[in-house]
């Protein structure tokens, strides 16, 4: 089976000690039920055989359009959802590997100290009836810090860290703007000194002027605290700015994964290329006759035969319509799932390459 080789190669690539998290053949299917008896009539293949690794200290950007499974992937890694199959290997501080996808409640609770999440919507991710002290201090409390003095000291420290005044501690979330609330969410995520932070669209609900502040904050924190980020987003310019490597998903599958510069300038998957071409550029001199990807995103409940992208792909051939492409490393550190990856010359995004 193709999966064998894939697994091996990924293991090789990340066999080094600096791999923090390795996801192998992750699948998450949601049953579609019908009728009074909830008969299962189909599956939504939200995440369908996804494999990648995250290195210690890096930022891995995970991009794709709505419904592509990027958020589901992130939630499976956090075990907010239970994966249908596959493994999620996490390397703990002492070097041992644990499989996040199967561990029980007690070790999972311990693991929560290491892995934390930042949410997209700062207006729904903070409990409205709790003060900042309670919100940011909660992870400390539930992990055994009973002294309220210690907690409030730590909360003050965390608030300072994210650029909020510690005096705000007694306030409730309703007193804060979106950007400030997102900082609060970040402070909560950092309370237990995590090593891996999964950020699920952390800036897409923010205004442009505030977005830059939060991106800078995330970069600063990464440097100060030696954090590793899985950065889920759909805004490609933000992803480009913050990520070391970028993974692209389409209908539950990973289609491409490469170093940021490489992926943006030299995409190997037609979907990645189309995605890059679709982004409106804030530069009117660049008003170009651009390539527009036709058609609609396939339904993960009923994906097409072969490569899921084939109905929209300008380069599709017969093999694309029948066989599922393998996600493989076609160049060093450049992974792609496309039958024609090595022969196609696709347009990337470099300033020079854009016609005037």
């Amino acid at each position: 089976m193709v999966e064998e080789t894939k697994q091996d190669t990924i293991a090789d690539d990340s066999g080094q000690q600096d791999t923090l998290l390795e996801v192998n053949n992750l699948r998450k299917f949601f049953p579609i039920t019908k009728g009074f008896l909830k008969r299962v009539i189909g599956q939504v293949r939200a995440v369908d055989d996804v494999s990648f690794a995250i290195r210690q200290g890096e930022t891995l950007g995970l991009v794709g359009e709505s419904g592509c499974g990027k958020t589901t992937t992130a939630r499976c890694i956090m075990r907010a959802l239970d994966p249908s199959s596959g493994e999620i290997l996490y390397r703990t501080e002492d070097g041992s590997l644990i499989d996040v996808s199967t561990i029980g409640p007690a070790p999972l609770r311990e693991l929560r100290k290491d892995m934390q999440m930042i949410f997209q919507d700062p207006f729904t991710s903070l409990t409205p009836r709790m003060s900042l002290l309670d919100i940011v201090g909660e992870p400390l409390l539930v992990h055994g810090e009973k002294s309220s003095r210690v907690r409030s000291e730590r909360v003050a420290e965390l608030l300072r860290l994210v650029g909020l005044r510690p005096e705000y501690m007694r306030r409730f979330p309703h007193a804060f703007s979106g950007g400030e609330r997102q900082r609060i969410g970040i402070a909560r995520a950092l309370a237990l000194n995590p090593r891996l932070v999964v950020a699920d669209e952390p800036v897409s609900a923010l205004d442009v002027s505030v977005q830059a502040q939060v991106i800078n904050l995330l970069s600063d924190l990464q440097e100060q605290l030696n954090l590793t980020y899985l950065f889920v987003a759909h805004d490609l310019s933000v992803v480009r700015h913050i990520s070391d490597r970028v993974a692209v998903m389409y209908v539950g599958k990973m289609v491409e994964l490469a170093e940021t510069e490489e992926l943006f300038s030299n995409p190997k998957h037609p979907y990645t290329s189309a995605l890059l071409q679709s982004v409106p550029i804030p530069d009117p001199k660049n008003k170009k006759e651009r390539f527009v990807l036709e058609g609609e995103v396939a339904s993960p409940a009923n994906p097409p035969e072969g490569c899921y992208f084939n109905p929209r792909c300008a380069h599709a051939t017969d093999v694309c319509r029948t066989e599922t492409p393998v996600f493989e490393e076609i160049e060093p550190k450049h992974w792609v799932a496309c039958h024609r990856a090595s022969e196609l010359d696709l347009r990337g995004l470099t300033e020079a390459a854009t016609p005037s």
């Binding site: 100290k113 991710s125 409990t127 909660e138 409730f172 309703h174 909560r188």
Partner: protein, 379 residues
């Protein structure tokens, strides 16, 4: 990261007050603006304040039957006598109308019975255990009570009991049934709804089906059936609780549905997931994160469901299926007004309907106000 704006505002204090305001404060600030609700709250406050004072305010022994004074019309206290302050009521002389044989009373303008505040009267237990015999208003000479049992501010009923004193007691029983009934409703509703909404699955299905079946049965016949099943030999207190339970059996389903819906909705909230990812346990998530999210809705629902309890008790007692004499409730007092002829001849027997209407309206306005205030974050 020193990018924080230093917003120098004149009303920095006010801003700070808003920022650290808990949900209850925010709710109160909004509630304050709802004038009808505030007035209703005050009215209801007065009604519930009457609880411990029922006997103190009564002018006569509510249970005392007095043959000479039945169907007496409401009597007026005159405070001045020839320009000097000297509260009194006039004496009465009963007679039969020779044409209709109806019992009537002649006011005797010259017979003045002295009335005073804090008068000695019938003995009662204040708050249930303190022996007392003082009343807000009573006859100056307690001996008068032997011949005339009360002032009859609201007249008397068919056997000569003092309506005013009875109303004070009825008020206590009818309103407290509302409160206790709602408390039972609340406990049942939150428990069933919480289990149903939080755990889902087959537990949810079973509870939902039970609620549906129950909802399909018409209310009044079921009430009547259940109250008819209350044994005849129960004491007043037992009947009281029996009827309360019968009434609550209806209330809880609505509450359970509200709670379940809220739990289902909140279960998907990001902040609930955030709490779970922080490592919080189920109990903490339910009670610290989810439940506070709709305390206020529960309060509003309660204040809107108390009136239906009160109406329910009144209807049942009116039909003779609720509380039974010697207990006194709105419904029991209204039994006498069942006969249109009686109402035509002695309209003051209908007076009890007035507090019922006031209380129900007040609860509805209060509920409205609470509901509007309940969502301090909504616009």
């Amino acid at each position: 990261m020193a990018e924080q704006v230093i917003t120098a505002t004149e009303d920095a204090f006010e801003e700070e007050e808003f920022s650290i305001a808990s949900q209850w404060q925010l709710m109160w600030w909004r509630f304050r603006k709802h004038k009808p609700a505030i007035v209703s709250a005050i009215i209801l406050g007065i009604f519930y304040l009457l609880f411990p004072l029922a006997e103190f305010l009564g002018t006569g022994d509510p249970a005392q039957i007095s043959e000479p004074y039945h169907y007496l019309r409401p009597q007026v206290i005159r405070f001045f006598d020839d320009g000097s302050f000297s509260p009194h009521v006039n004496g009465l002389r009963p007679y039969r109308d020779p044409m209709t044989f109806q019992k009537k009373y002649e006011l005797l303008p010259d017979e003045k019975i002295g009335v005073t505040f804090f008068a000695k009267g019938f003995e009662y237990n204040f708050l249930g255990f303190i022996k007392a015999d003082r009343h807000l208003i009573g006859f100056t000479d307690p001996a008068t009570l032997d011949s005339r049992p009360s002032i009859f501010l609201l007249g008397s009923d068919s056997v000569g009991r003092d309506s005013w004193s009875r109303l004070m007691l009825a008020n206590r029983i009818s309103l407290s049934i509302g409160l206790i009934g709602v408390a039972i409703t609340l406990i049942l509703g939150i428990m069933m709804g919480g289990i149903s909404g939080y755990y889902g699955g087959w537990v949810d299905t079973i509870i939902q089906r039970i609620i549906e079946v129950k909802s399909a049965i018409p209310t009044l016949p079921l009430w009547m059936g259940l109250s008819a099943a209350v044994p005849q030999d129960w004491t007043v207190l037992q009947v009281y609780f029996g009827i309360t339970v019968v009434l609550s059996i209806f209330g809880w389903t609505g509450m359970a549905r509200t709670v379940r819906g809220k739990f289902l909705a909140l279960r998907e909230e990001d902040y609930v997931m955030a709490a779970r990812l922080s490592g919080s346990g189920e109990g903490r998530i339910m009670f610290r994160h989810m439940l506070p999210g709709f305390y206020s809705h529960i309060i509003a629902t309660i204040s809107l469901s108390i009136p239906s309890m009160i109406i329910g008790e009144t209807s049942l007692s009116f039909l003779g299926l609720g509380l039974r004499p010697p207990a006194v409730s709105y419904g029991i007092m209204l039994i006498q007004a069942q006969n249109p002829v009686t109402v035509a001849l002695y309209p003051w027997l209908m007076f009890v309907a007035l507090p019922v209407i006031i209380v129900i309206l007040a609860f509805n306005f209060l509920g409205d106000g609470l509901r509007d205030a309940a969502d301090p974050y909504g616009k």
